[in-house]
């Protein structure tokens, strides 16, 4: 397959026709795998809290629908966890192979968060197994604590992985970056300092608030879709989806408050510790006071200065203050992705607040009855909006990740900003992306195979979930919980006998 290969240029010919640049391919492979992995992480981080909230409401209100939500979604959580973990393993191997030089430096300086993440991952696995199999084996409170512990494990995993990302943005403190930049000697290594790099102040809250919001938002999208588009829903399914929709909306609206603060805080942190990255994300070419916010064709004067400092006249550094070699060669991609991320996030937060207000304050809903807010779980317009905006949060999530990664270019490991004799600023970086990739063309063929396997996993997951629930209707679960309590097993086969009692219970509930 490979005819010619040139290590110095990293280009090789496939079948003598088409040039493939391994610098591009390695990045595409990592981006693709990571994009697939983060698709599953927001569920891993948000679902445990949704499930435990449903379980709590189920017990408190003696409501079988909430318990059915908790039980059914705990199966979903387990399947998504398994697929997400498998893709995570693929990323780990890509780090060892396609990005081994970067991984070498991480191992020498910043491996501690990864090692601690193993503890968090194991906690998650143990708690997940205990939770799934502990429905009828322990007290309700103990069971809910186990569910929360899954969430704690997944959030901690997310935090620790994001810490490594923060370290790539601000490695100062964990080792002497300036000395490494000047001499190539790794000195002043402090693994403990690497546990909270400066960029973590902005990144960690953003990661937590963002993943919860996308998780709860996509649940709003799912339940809205079911309500808006499913034909001939029975009473059980309607009640089930209504509760899911309401709970997911409340959780998303609550988290949106945290998200609003986290987003604002992350911008201010960038202003003070990574002004070059801020300039990239905002597409700011010129250093200026009263800096505008550019969103697509719209430019709002002074807004960027105001949002980053609370002072509309503050000076914000643009590309003109930095040496040209440090400019992000794909700044336009980072900027556009950031615009999509921020716009969808802000719209999503506003919509969730409005929907939650309509549920919480009926008078507010009635005031806007022309928008269908007097009954948002039944009227088409709020359901359509919830469906679209809810699922668009996944796009916002991916766009945010693209902005964060492409906005760090051309460096894979950043460094301190220093002023040159010409007055311009430069970055004393740890590692350039162009130095970190693996030019070996063997990665190409197997990389395509990995990408195909991941695509199959992503497409196959909903199909597998659909098949898992194909013979398990909602009313079946609701009635089983009503008759037997929450102790019934998710895997209990429906026998003739239980089916008779199910029919009888169904009749009772329908009469009510």
């Amino acid at each position: 397959m490979l005819n010619i290969y040139n290590y110095s240029t990293s280009n090789f010919l496939v079948k003598g026709e088409k040039m493939v640049d391994m610098f591009v391919f390695d990045r595409v492979l990592a981006a693709y795998t990571m994009a697939a992995h983060v698709l599953f992480t927001y569920w891993a981080i948000s679902l445990p809290f949704f499930i435990v909230a449903a379980e709590y409401l189920g017990y408190r209100r003696n409501d079988p629908y909430y318990l059915a939500l908790a039980k059914r979604f705990s199966v979903v959580m387990a399947v998504l966890f398994a697929v997400g973990s498998a893709i995570g393993a693929a990323i780990a191997v890509e780090f060892l192979t396609a990005w081994y030089k970067w991984m070498f430096l991480v191992n020498e300086v910043e491996i501690l968060p990864f090692e601690l993440e193993v503890l968090a991952f194991f906690t998650e696995v143990i708690m997940l197994a205990l939770y799934l199999y502990g429905w009828d084996k322990m007290g309700r409170t103990a069971h809910m604590i186990l569910g929360l512990m899954i969430g704690v494990g997944s959030v901690t995993s997310g935090i620790l992985i994001t810490i490594v990302n923060s370290w790539m943005n601000t490695p100062q403190g964990s080792f002497d970056v300036a000395t490494y930049y000047q001499t190539g000697q790794l000195t002043g290594i402090n693994p403990i300092a690497g546990l909270w790099p400066p960029a973590a102040n902005g990144e960690i809250p953003m990661m937590m608030a963002g993943s919860w919001f996308v998780g709860f938002g996509s649940l709003v999208g799912y339940f809205s879709f079911r309500k808006a588009f499913s034909k001939n829903l029975d009473t059980y399914s309607k009640e089930y989806y209504n509760r899911g929709l309401k709970l997911a909306t409340y959780l998303a609206a609550l988290d949106a408050i945290f998200l609003a603060w986290a987003g604002d805080h992350a911008g201010k942190e960038l202003y003070s510790i990574q002004p070059l990255k801020l300039a990239t994300l905002e597409g700011l070419m010129q250093t200026q006071a009263h800096a505008p916010m550019n969103i697509g064709p719209i430019s709002i004067p002074g807004l960027l200065s105001f949002l980053t400092t609370w002072n509309p006249n503050a000076v914000v550094l643009g590309y003109s203050s930095f040496v040209k070699s440090d400019w992000d060669p794909i700044w336009w991609l980072a900027h556009d992705a950031y615009d999509i991320h921020a716009t969808l996030g802000i719209i999503g937060a506003i919509i969730m607040w409005i929907l939650a207000a309509a549920y919480l304050f009926p008078r507010f809903g009635r005031t806007f009855s022309w928008l269908g807010l007097d009954n948002p779980a039944e009227k088409k317009l709020p359901l359509y909006v919830g469906f679209i905006i809810g699922w668009l949060q996944v796009v916002a999530w991916e766009a945010g990740w693209v902005a964060a990664e492409t906005g760090r270019q051309p460096f894979v490991i950043w460094g301190p900003m220093v002023q040159t004799s010409s007055g311009l600023y430069m970055i004393q970086y740890g590692l350039l992306t162009s130095e970190a990739y693996n030019p070996n063309p063997d990665i190409f063929g197997i990389g395509i195979a990995i990408m195909t396997a991941i695509a199959i996993a992503i497409v196959g997951t909903p199909i597998m979930l659909k098949r898992l629930f194909a013979k398990r209707e909602i009313k079946q679960d609701v009635v089983a919980i009503t008759t037997s309590g929450p102790s019934f097993s998710a895997q209990t086969p429906i026998t003739k006998q239980t089916n008779v009692s199910l029919q009888s219970e169904l009749g009772k509930v329908e009469k009510k």
């Binding site: 060892l96 601690l116 503890l119 290594i189 195979a449």
Partner: protein, 362 residues
Amino acid sequence: MNPYVLFFFIPLGWFVTMFMLEAGSVVMIPICRYENYRERMIFVVGSLWAIIATSLVYTVVTLDGLFAPIMYATGEALLGVLLALVVILAFHHFLIGVAEGADSLGRHATSKLYLTAAVPFVLLVAFLGNTIFTSVFSGYGIGLKLPLTTVATVLEKGDLPYILHTAPNTQVFYPNYMQMIFNPFNWVFFVAVVLYVVYFTVTFYGIKERFLVGILALTLAHALFLASTAVWLPIVFSSAVGNAGFWIYVILTYVLLYLATHINVPWRQVWIVLLTWIGAIMFGVFTQGYILYDTTHSILAPLGLPAVPASLLLTIQPTLVAGTVVLGVAAFLVIGGVSAVSYKLLYKQAVKRAEEAKTETK
């Protein structure tokens, strides 16, 4: 032997043991004639998802944490095998997962079909894992772009970061996949591993009807392990045969096979897992911490070194010390916690459910 190098064999040995358990069960399920053993094999495969995933992650992170410079070997020489392993591992997980799902839904014929389809993937994973293992210790297929003494000096002085910084395109290793895969050591060792898996499976499930197969497999496995190391990895062979512990180990494997198949010895599964894990760690001890033995022995022996000491590849000291503490704690969680959960909850629950189902049918 350097304690950090020895430490690595704890997760590696554990992963190898768990994978043997899985591989033996998956391969046996479609061909096993005895329903009672087959049923237990299905339960075991279903209970292993947590422990297999965690022990693999634990092994990879331990490798990262202890041996930072080994990234050059993984990225330059082992990349093809490692990446192929991930793809095959994905299909292996998928097929076993679907089989488990089908089984839990009562579709046993579909489950058997998927498990049969998983068999070649299980064997491929085992073979590729074996290939990485043998090539790291023997050096087959891992070529050096630079003179060995230069590489050793760079590693000894801790100058690899300097090389990365000043000449990032420097290549240290190069792969020779034909040699890596098609060398006799790899194949003979693989056959020995397969035979050991046969013994492991017979002992783990206490299959009395296959006692003789177990003895034959175990004897051949021991013979092939010894013969292959005698020819291609003499440092391991001479360490093993000169060590009384090894011979006690060999005797114990036979004793356990008899006890497991003829007398229902309590904690049968625990003993065979423990014995195999100890065996894998023993292999590590017998390497005396040297890698790339066959390909570097003739160059380094005149300099007073039998091969490349793995301790040259250790991570920088402060990171290494901090990381080892965390990895030690993780060992308790993965080897103790996850195993206990897998056994007490996943396995026991599956057995209980099956017994309840049988009672209902009666």
